[in-house]
């Protein structure tokens, strides 16, 4: 995960097949504070279903899903953290 110039954390999940992109997102988000924005770039079309499903059950928001040539770009906002 890198912090890009716009201050958004970026996850490179290109050429990874599901569920690996979801695992990358899960592991990255674990370390981030509430409301942080995270951009995922992936090539497996399955991410369009799996990342929103994972975000929904964990309380994170999908801000956008775009197809950019052969890539899928998903923008996520980390939900509010609650202590277990």
């Amino acid at each position: 995960m890198i912090l890009n110039k716009s201050g958004i954390f970026e996850i490179n999940a290109r050429n990874l097949l599901c569920p690996l992109p979801v695992i990358r997102v899960q592991d990255a988000i674990k370390t981030l504070p509430s409301f942080t924005k995270v951009k995922v770039i992936a090539t497996d079309p399955g991410v369009k279903y799996d990342i929103p499903a994972w975000c929904k059950v964990h309380g994170h928001s999908i801000l956008s899903i775009d197809n950019v040539e052969r890539e899928i770009v998903i923008l996520i906002q980390v939900g509010e953290r609650h202590e277990r």
């Binding site: 050429n15 097949l17 569920p19 690996l20 369009k48 799996d50 499903a53 994972w54 059950v57």
Partner: protein
């Protein structure tokens, strides 16, 4: 003062109906349940389904189940640790290279570690006595609980009434009376239970949850071990076994031939690590070569590649050969006829 404690369980979610029902039974008793799903690299979920372009993008069933039940799902990457389970199973294999009993013990052991780290109280699974010939028998149920060190923190809600009461039952965290007494391979009780819960859609029960139960897949895995002379694998090896046609025209090399655009796109990502071939001027597969090739082998591989391209009936086809650390070459070859491709080359 309110002494009420919210008990918490982790449920092993495979994406099938049984784990969905087991979770629902416990959720309905007011327990906080979260799901856990283990990624071994052999999982049927995702992967190849997502590769082939004509297949509609496949959802991950474990995530879908979590969404339906509105529970969190934690997907845990166990690829590295799982190698030892596949390579050295203490309790042996099932019909193919599936080490089901060791696998189950390992996953429950991981779940036990997880509940300890996350302050949860017990573990649930969708296991049913007699459902699977190797790992879900009456005798193996206590073995799994003991060998995984989960002991009586492991509750199987679908068949709990047929087993000794576990801690959550004895302590009345859950009401044993409301749990199931299902056994055997039939699916009727589960289908009836799904109806009672109003669950209309679920993944069809499969023979196994991973490619290790698949005859064709495990033949390719065995071929990998035989040709490398040792039982060993990396994640990329086992993912590539799920993609394309695998042909071994000679003992020293194997060809992985993309079957359509989605697979070709996926194989593109491996071009830098392999010698690859592709036909120029016609549509055709991307082919990766595993092994070392002589000039004669290269020619053979090019003729096979041409056979699987749009130029298969042409008298001469140009094939590009890309090799690690050198410029691509171009060969002009006559494509093989269908009869030239020997059946025994297919792995």
């Amino acid at each position: 003062m309110n002494n009420y404690k919210q008990y918490k369980a982790i449920s092993l979610i495979s994406g099938g109906l049984d784990s969905m029902l087991a979770t629902k039974l416990i959720l309905d008793q007011g327990i906080h349940v979260e799901g856990i799903n283990f990624f071994t690299g052999f999982c049927v979920e995702g992967h190849t389904h997502a590769i082939r372009k004509h297949d509609k993008p496949k959802r991950n069933n474990a995530l879908w189940v979590a969404e339906q039940l509105n529970i969190k799902l934690h997907i845990i990457d166990i690829v590295e640790e799982y190698k030892n389970i596949v390579l050295n199973p203490q309790y042996g294999y099932g019909a193919h290279l599936n080490p089901c009993l060791d696998c189950k013990i390992f996953m429950i052991k991981k779940a036990k570690e997880w509940i300890k780290e996350n302050n949860f109280d017990f573990i649930i699974t969708g296991e049913v006595i007699g459902q699977r010939p190797k790992s879900q028998r009456k005798e193996t149920m206590p073995l799994v609980a003991t060998a995984s060190q989960a002991h009586d923190l492991l509750l199987r809600p679908l068949c709990a009434k047929l087993l000794p009461p576990t801690l959550p039952e004895r302590q009345a965290w859950v009401d044993r009376e409301k749990l199931g007494n299902i056994s055997g391979r039939g699916r009727k009780p589960q289908i009836n239970m799904a109806e009672q819960f109003g669950i209309k859609e679920y993944a069809q029960p499969a023979g196994g949850c991973c490619f290790l139960t698949d005859e064709k897949y495990t033949a390719k895995l065995q071929d990998l071990w035989d040709t490398q002379g040792k039982r060993h694998y990396e994640l990329d090896d086992i993912l590539l076994l799920k993609v394309g046609r695998h042909l071994r025209p000679k003992p020293n090399f194997k060809m992985i031939i993309g079957r359509e655009e989605g697979e070709n796109n996926y194989l593109e990502g491996y071009k830098k690590q392999f010698t690859y071939l592709r036909v120029l001027e016609y549509v055709g597969p991307l082919v990766l070569i595993e092994g070392e090739l002589s000039a004669e082998d290269l020619y053979l591989a090019a003729r096979i590649t041409a056979r699987f391209s749009g130029g298969k009936t042409a008298s001469c086809v140009k094939v590009q050969v890309g090799r690690k650390e050198s410029d691509p070459l171009e060969l002009e070859v006559k494509p093989f006829s269908a009869d030239d491709i020997k059946q025994e080359w297919y792995i």
